[in-house]
């Protein structure tokens, strides 16, 4: 555990020396502020045009940021020989990956906190912005999204040999989960028998952290009725207070499985070296 802590601390320190972290931070803050400016007159509460746009823009930017930061960090260690050096210490793969995950999570959460902090403060000063429950839900959405995609980025990093490969994998994962998801599913599920569509779609949604988090947030923002009668039970279930721990459980399961896969891939690489 203490070795995990050391890896995490090192990761945070390297993270804040990394110019990438700062450029992403600037990008995220800038984009949050511009979003606030676009909706200068609008007041955002619940699921509305402002929050919908915000959800989508966060979905575009944050997963890509997370995937590149995470996978670059892992492949960077491979490329720069840090991992070979660390291998000479009594450090297990689990401790290493967990430390990496925690350290990177801290860096990402600081980026998110900065962006949201600026928006919250600027909105308050400008006399517009978000009401607190909506703001808190959007923040929770961003945090969940970052943490889930960070787990995916661990897999991407473990899979790749170098930063270039990692970039390819990261962009591919991002494109597939964010942009190509509806087109691919509509095309493939369209060929299935009508009655299969909903169950298959529901099951597949659990495989996509972006969709899972987005839908959970939409329902929690009060927009569940938008998903139509097909998902009535789901909406009711998520809206209950017990929906939140259930979602967190799913997210935790998701993260553990992804880290498990990353661990497996990393171990395979270790034997190969």
């Amino acid at each position: 555990m203490s070795s995990s802590f050391h890896v995490a601390v090192r990761e945070v320190k390297i993270g804040f020396r990394n110019p990438w972290a700062y450029s992403f931070m600037a990008l995220f803050a800038l984009f949050m502020l511009s979003l606030l400016l676009i909706n200068a007159q609008g007041y955002a509460t619940g699921y509305s045009g402002v929050t919908g746009t915000m959800l989508n823009l966060v979905l575009y930017l944050l997963p890509l940021m997370t995937l590149t930061l995470g996978s670059f960090s892992l492949t960077g260690d491979k490329e720069d020989g840090n991992w070979e050096l660390l291998s000479t210490y009594p450090l297990g793969t689990w401790a290493f990956l967990l430390g990496k995950y925690i350290g990177l999570a801290v860096v990402l959460l600081v980026i998110v906190a900065l962006g949201f902090g600026l928006t919250g403060l600027a909105g308050w000063i400008a006399g517009g912005g978000f009401d607190f429950p909506t703001y808190a839900k959007l923040l929770a959405f961003s945090v969940c999204l970052a943490l889930l995609f960070l787990a995916v980025s661990m897999v991407a990093g473990a899979l790749s040999r170098n930063r270039w490969q990692a970039l390819t994998v990261a962009v591919a994962v991002w494109f597939f989960t964010i942009i190509a998801w509806p087109p691919v599913l509509i095309a493939s599920l369209g060929m299935m028998p009508y009655l299969w569509i909903k169950p298959v779609l529901t099951a597949l949604t659990f495989l996509n952290p972006a969709e899972l988090t987005r839908l959970f947030t939409v329902v929690k923002l009060g927009g569940g009725s938008m998903l139509g009668p097909e998902y009535y039970d789901w909406i009711l279930w998520i809206r209950k207070p017990s929906g939140t721990p259930a979602f967190l459980l799913v997210a935790a399961l998701w993260t553990s499985i992804a880290l498990g896969i990353a661990h497996m891939l990393w171990e395979r690489g270790r034997r190969r070296v």
């Binding site: 804040f16 509460t45 989508n56 919250g120 403060l121 308050w124 000063i125």
Partner: protein, 445 residues
């Protein structure tokens, strides 16, 4: 439970009223009951009966044109425990004012049944376990200043009765009533030229529900947290103006205003805010939809298989999706303001030179396979919609959208400032993030 408590409180209040009103002489409810029906039967048409404060046992039938009033409004209660209507009015020219009618049994017959024309009901408070006021073949009646609430516990919305229910009753005026927690707030069927003004309907299924009516006027009403604000079906020449319908978004079939098979109807100057669908128009023709403020809905306007409608000068703002349309190309959409649309105005007339076309892709996709509604406004879906541009000329299009939002007389809801909570949270986050960065940069841990 709540009903029980309310009933208990009501009883205490009434008892207090009874003691105050009658001084040392106390009359029991049973005595008053006999007295009331007898009193009414004894009266001659045109007489006015002033009721002393107290609890009167129902049911009561009025079969001649009298005026029945509470001596002091709010002190007279008609309590009904039978399966009959608490108050049955069978003669024209009757006026009943200021009574509290407690009729909480869940039953078939309504709390107040009116079967003759020209009956006026004023300032009543009705707690019902069935329909509040039912009018059958009762023309030119009036219900005003009346509050109707659901009084029975643990009844599903589908099993509740309506607040005011009209059948074959023409030219009825419904003004300034408050209706809560019922099935349909105001239900009109085969009742023409009804005036529905200044009513407030909350937490019911439909606020105002018109079926097969003509010439209905629905004005200055407020609907809040119903499944649908105004459900206007199979009608002609209806006017729906300057109403406010807010927060009808809980149910998967919620709308602010729904027009179905509606023709030559005017929908103007309404404020439609925070609903699932602001304005839903299906199979309707020849309607004018003008100067409405349609804001913060999940979908602003939905046009399905509707043509020859005129939609102009409306303001669409802050909706998650502005508009969805299917098979509705022949509408005259002109001069609306869409906040997500960036127009170009070269000639400076305040209208965009390029049109705003409503992409039918998502609507037709989910029309065939509702399961895909899950992708509503997801980033990938918006990407796909952007790619889909075929047969653009057959899309529903606003030919000349407004460049700036029109000024509309709008009801402003409880729309506060972001408040200090968000600002403080922001400050805290910012401070935390800054401290974290400084800490890791400066100190060597």
């Amino acid at each position: 439970m709540i009903g029980g408590v309310c009933r208990w409180i009501a009883a205490v209040v009434l008892l207090a009223g009874l003691c105050l009103g009658l001084g040392p002489v106390s009359i029991t409810a049973a005595e008053l009951a006999d007295e009331l029906q007898e009193l009414v039967d004894r009266a001659l048409p045109g007489d006015t009966i002033q009721l002393e404060p107290g609890i009167y046992e129902g049911p009561l039938t009025i079969s001649k044109g009298i005026i029945l009033k509470a001596a002091r409004a709010g002190t007279v209660t008609l309590l009904n425990r039978s399966q009959e209507p608490a108050l049955k009015i069978e003669a024209s020219g009757v006026l009943v004012a200021g009574l509290h009618i407690i009729d909480e049994a869940v039953k078939e017959s309504p709390s107040v049944l009116v079967t003759s024309g020209g009956v006026r009901l004023e300032g009543l408070l009705i707690r019902t376990g069935s329909d509040g006021i039912v009018m059958r073949n009762a023309d030119e009646g009036e219900v005003s200043g009346t509050t109707i609430e659901w009084g029975a516990a643990d009844v599903r919305m589908a099993d509740k009765g309506n607040g005011i229910d009209l059948y074959n009753s023409h030219s009825v005026r419904l003004n300034g009533n408050a209706i809560r927690d019922v099935h349909d707030g105001i239900y009109l069927e085969n009742s023409d030229d009804t005036t529905v003004t200044g009513n407030r309907i909350e937490r019911s299924r439909y606020g105002v529900h018109c079926m097969y009516t003509r010439g209905t006027l629905i004005r200055d009403n407020e609907g809040l947290l119903n499944v649908t604000g105004a459900m206007v079906m199979a009608v002609r020449d209806v006017e729906i103006s300057t109403n406010t319908f807010m927060k009808q978004n809980e149910n998967v079939n919620s709308q602010g205003i729904l027009l179905y098979d509606a023709h030559d109807t005017l929908v103007a100057g309404n404020t439609v805010e925070g609903n699932r669908v602001g304005l839903y128009v299906e199979l309707s023709t020849g309607n004018r939809i003008e100067s409405n403020a349609i804001s913060y809905n999940f979908i602003g306007i939905q046009l399905l298989e509707s043509n020859d409608n005129r939609v102009s000068n409306n303001r669409f703002q802050g909706n998650v999706a502005d508009a969805q349309a299917r098979s509705s190309a022949d509408n005259d959409l002109n001069g609306n303001y869409w906040d997500t649309f960036q127009g170009i105005d070269a000639d400076g007339d305040g209208r965009s030179d390029i049109g705003y076309a409503i992409n039918p892709f998502f609507q037709s996709l989910t029309g065939k396979r509702p399961a895909f509604q899950l992708f509503f406004q997801s980033p990938g879906m918006m990407f796909l919609e952007g790619l889909y541009q075929s047969e653009r000329q057959s899309w529903t299009t606003d030919r000349a959208p407004l460049m700036a939002p029109p000024h509309l007389a709008e009801h402003v809801g409880e729309r506060g400032q972001s408040g200090s909570a968000t600002g403080l949270a922001g400050l805290l986050l910012l401070g935390g993030a800054g401290a974290m960065i400084l800490m890791t940069r400066r100190r060597s841990i």
